[in-house]
């Protein structure tokens, strides 16, 4: 079947999609957006987290046919239009929150969603928000640092604006 939807603001079209195929597969293999990572395929790890109509979800658990005419925003869509890294992405780089990097795209989207609703989360709020994103390298401390840094920068930006 054919599936058409919006990915990071641009219309995309995927042909020959199998009816049981996931949105994650379509993003990675059919429309050239391999940022979202394929790890557990059962919603346990959060590496494939994307926005679907503004709500963060595991793209491995969304059937491709379900996104027809809807809006998807992936980790690629977190960057600035200029191509520079977005605020959350830069914070992860600056805090050294990336080791192997496989979990990073999901963490970036989930952190972006957290700060959009709660720009100044407590540590408990951060842990709860990221509880569906597994990282097997870092022990999470650098990730916590990165989210705190992104939070501080988000707040500073809001003040200066």
């Amino acid at each position: 079947m054919r599936v058409t939807f919006t990915a990071n603001g641009k219309p995309v079209e995927a042909d020959d999609v199998w009816e049981g195929e996931s949105l994650l597969y379509v993003l990675r293999e059919r429309v050239g957006l391999p940022g979202s990572k394929n790890a557990c395929e059962q919603g346990e790890c959060g590496s494939c987290t994307v926005y679907l109509d503004g709500v963060p979800v595991c793209s491995c658990l969304v059937a491709a046919g379900q996104v027809q005419d809807r809006e998807v925003r992936t980790v690629e869509g977190l960057a600035e239009e200029s191509g520079d890294l977005g605020l959350v992405q830069q914070a992860f780089v600056d805090a050294g929150a990336v080791q192997c990097g496989f979990c990073t795209p999901g963490l970036l989207v989930q952190t972006d969603a957290l700060l959009a609703t709660d720009p100044q989360p407590s540590d408990t709020d951060i842990r709860e928000a990221l509880s569906g994103n597994l990282c097997r390298c870092t022990g999470y401390e650098k990730i916590m640092d990165a989210v705190r840094l992104a939070s501080a920068r988000t707040c500073a930006k809001a003040v200066s604006e």
Partner: protein, 295 residues
Amino acid sequence: MEFLRPATWDEALAAKAEYPTALPISGGTDVMVEMNFDVHRPSAILDLNRIGDLATWSIDGDTVRLGAAVPYSRIIDELSGPLPGLALAAHTVGSPQIRNRGSVGGNLGAASPAGDSHPALLAAGRDVFVEAASVRGTRLIPIDDFYTGVKRNSLEADELIRAVHIPVADGPQQFSKIGTRNAMVIAVCAFGFALHPKSRTVGTGIGSAAPTPRRAVEAEEYLRGVLAERGLWESGDLLGTEVIQRFGELVRDAASPIDDVRGTADYRKHALAVMARRTLTWTWNDYSKQIRSAA
């Protein structure tokens, strides 16, 4: 495989009548796992995402009509007042991403004994109904008749779950669940408990400790009797350790768990008695406070 995308509820019922073996999908948090691992390949997938009604809820008098596809995250945000037990259960489901997609309709459709909604629905009382519909009409299935076996429910092949009718809480409710961590846990076992002061009854629900979610009937009857005989609904006085202990034992005895990878039968029975005592104590303390502050 077919991918069916009805735009309206009537179209969905027509599609389910035409393809009775079609697998309904909404949040996909169960269905897509089966698809990704090729556990199950249905003849057709019936996508319900376009039917906006399914993701709405309303309150009519003292009953909440919860659309089958209202995601857990919205139950937590919007319904923790009228449905405190279900909201607590919803908070233990998976992760934020899963709670953004998963719904009570999916839990009921899958009918896994480990589904987190079930103990809360059972505890909410006997006036909980699953609204099932087909091209033949709509029926309200009492929650006590809904679960028929491991991952089996009383839906007919041409029926879809449209909503769940749940009484608005008129007393404290609690939910407790055992797992290895707070997030991403399939319950080793779970327990829901509710006080219903208006009807002078209590509700229980056991999860992951029998072939189906089930009520601890004797425990409910025992506690109802004690509360009535001793005038405790009126006084809000202490229950006493003996009553709490006995309640825990009766809940434990109502379970018939198995040994599996998540835990042993003995552990589940022990844990259920502990959770029953705790949830009873928590809710009764809340109720006592309400009585005293009203006095």
